[in-house]
Amino acid sequence: MSVVPLRQNNTFHKDPKFGRLLLVSLIAHVLVLVVFSVDLFGTKVRYKPPVYYVDLIHKPVLNPQAGRPDPRPVSKPKPEPVKPAAQTVTPAVPREPVKPEVKPLVKPTPAAEPKPKPKPAEKPVPKPTEKPVAKPVQAKEQKLQSALDEIRERQAREAEREALKDKLAKLRDSVGAAATVPADVPVGMPDGQGDEVGVSALAFVQAFIQQNWVLSPYLLDQSRIADFEAVATLNYSASGSLTSYSVDRLSGNKQFDDSLKTAIVKSRQLAQPLPKELKLVVTFNLKDIAAARR
């Protein structure tokens, strides 16, 4: 008996139900897809809204108006009333308790005189003959003189204090803190020329990155502090996310370069959305530290 190879005898037999089964399978798949993708039962789609931290006062804007970036002086009105009072006193006699001291000193000299006006102060002088009287007068004059000296000293101190205050105010102005600006000044930037309420978006991003930049000068060669500089390009989306960045120029010092890369990584999400997407070329250096050491 010859053995016929099985393959030769077995011709492919097509099952007549195969097509139908395939169709059923297809329909079942489509149904599963429909059930899971279409809201058949009217269930609410769970939408997870993103949470934005929106600070309406410090909102970064492109064209900030002139004003104060720091809305702190809520408590400032308190010292305000004191200030003008002190100012009005300074030109003449600085403090009230001093005044009464002056008058009694002037008064006793013309004890017999009816009028206690400033003129009598000279009267005791032409009467030096009466020694017992002259001595107390001299003593009183000395007292008067010392009181006047004290007043002058106080005035000088007040003037010094005022000068210092002015200096401080100027310094504050120069750093843009706007601390001397009255409380009702709107939120903006000291050098703002636009019309939007908020702080400069650029200043905001700059402060944010700077805050995240940690670098100890002890990590670096102290004699080269002024030479370290690196440049990076940062692209921020309007939502405040860092979409891409590139370090264009490195300082060559590993510690310095690593620290700014870490600062960029830490600044990948700003605390506030931006008015629009921003492309920033950021120069990192240590000029302020070098200047402080000079």
Partner: protein, 432 residues
């Protein structure tokens, strides 16, 4: 057609970016100038728990890292549960927890105490980038725990600054603790003091050889200020220069082939170079004034020294090959004990002003002179740490004269020796 559409799509994508003009900003100082570090207490891995081991390791490491001035320590009270978990792999550390506390770097570790054998595993992590920066495993005895902590502090500095720290080194100094002025050796934090000499006389002015194996010092043991050398490990000692008069302030050259010192064999103190057997090789100075206190430049080509050849004692620099000598300091009526920094750029010295001595540093070209010590007391004998980050000096500002350490900018000063004895003339060894 399809390709054209695709190109248009690409261009439309690129347009907003190309139209976005780059704005320049400058950040001219970091927001924080010290690295926030969380230093956790090391946990027992195997064997019994020993608070002494973990406490001592932590204390030494904290003191060393604090002296470096690099760090701001996160308060341990704020630590969350990750501080109590053993996890030495970066995958096991809960970095977000440490970020929450504001830490940028984290030190975690374990110890295993088996009898007297101690194994310490220490890790430094970068919290922001969630990675291990460096790790070390130290094996030794329980009494070595301080050395292990110093070694890890050195390693932390090496990882963060690129240069190893000097905390594993030793400090030689002169102390009258034993009743006589003798040579002593201690750790850089003032612990483990050991007496090296027993001359029962006056010992002064020690200096390490560049490899740290030997010490040079002057002793009056033979009733004359002679120069000695001493091997630290073997304790062997030999008289190197014993010419009539002064044989003081011996300083070994970086090459270890020559010794600069002050000799007054001819009456007037001058600076000479000796070979290692004590024979005079070269006379460096020749002036009517007193020349003393030589200090080598790191390249071994120049010497800084004190001379009163132009009136008051001032710091001078001389080239040992050409003999060209320049005056470095111009201020003050009395300048003394110059010490050339290991980086070669600055020289520390002492100046007397207002009847008090203080430490100063100056660039080798005479610029940028800075006073480092202030307040009461006399501060003298400045010497550099091998990495140039710190200076040690002696001062009597705490009553009795003691050894102090500070950063090279004058900050972070702290006393190393106890108040019970009088200590002076410190010298920081090379890395041990």
């Amino acid at each position: 057609m399809l390709l054209r559409c695709f190109m248009v799509f690409l261009i439309s994508l690129a347009l907003p970016w190309s139209s976005l003009a780059a704005t320049q900003i400058e950040i001219s100082a970091p927001g924080e100038q010290s690295i926030p570090l969380a230093l956790t207490t090391f946990l027992p891995d195997k064997g019994p728990q020993s608070e002494k081991i973990s406490g001592e390791f932590n204390e030494v490491l904290l003191a060393d890292l604090d002296l470096s001035g690099l760090f701001r320590f996160v308060a341990p009270k704020a630590f969350l549960d990750d501080a109590e978990r053993i996890g030495l792999f970066s995958t096991q550390v809960n970095f977000p927890q440490w970020r929450l506390l504001g830490a940028e770097t984290l030190i975690k570790g374990t110890y295993a105490l088996e009898g007297e054998k101690l194994i310490v595993e220490a890790r430094l992590f970068d919290v922001v980038n969630r990675r291990l920066l460096t790790g070390r495993r130290y094996v030794g005895e329980a009494k070595d725990v301080r050395r292990m902590a110093h070694a890890f502090a050195d390693q932390v500095l090496k990882e963060l600054t690129g240069e190893e720290g000097p905390f594993s080194a030793r400090i030689a100094y002169i102390s009258n603790q034993s009743g006589h002025s003798e040579l002593w050796l201690m750790d850089v934090d003032g612990h483990r003091p050991i007496r090296l000499t027993n001359h029962r006389s006056i010992v002064l002015n020690p200096d390490f050889s560049p490899h740290g194996k030997e010490l040079l010092f002057t002793s009056y043991r033979a009733n004359n200020p002679d120069l000695y050398r001493k091997e630290i490990y073997s304790g062997k000692e030999a008289k190197l220069s014993y010419k009539p008069g002064l044989n003081v302030a011996g300083r070994m050259a970086p090459s270890e082939r020559e010794i600069a010192l002050t000799l007054s064999k001819d009456g007037n103190p001058e600076i000479y170079l000796l070979d290692t057997s004590g024979r005079i090789r070269k006379r460096i100075t020749d002036s009517w004034g007193i020349d003393s206190d030589p200090s080598w430049s790191p390249d071994g080509n120049r010497l800084a020294f004190i001379s009163n050849r132009q009136g008051n004692p001032h710091v001078f620099i001389t080239d040992i090959f050409t003999g060209r000598t320049t005056r470095l300091t111009t201020k003050g009526k009395y300048n003394a004990t110059p010490a050339w920094g290991p980086k070669g750029d600055r020289i520390a010295f002492t100046r007397q002003e207002g009847g008090r001595f203080d430490i100063y540093t100056i660039n080798t070209d005479g610029t940028d002179e800075r006073r480092l010590t202030f307040g009461t007391g006399n501060s003298e004998h400045p010497r550099w740490s091998p990495d140039g980050r710190f200076l040690i000096y002696s001062s009597d500002k705490g009553g009795k004269r003691g050894i102090y350490v500070m950063r090279s900018d004058g900050t972070g000063s702290r006393r190393l020796t106890t108040l019970e004895s009088d200590s002076r003339h410190p010298a920081w060894s090379p890395r041990w």
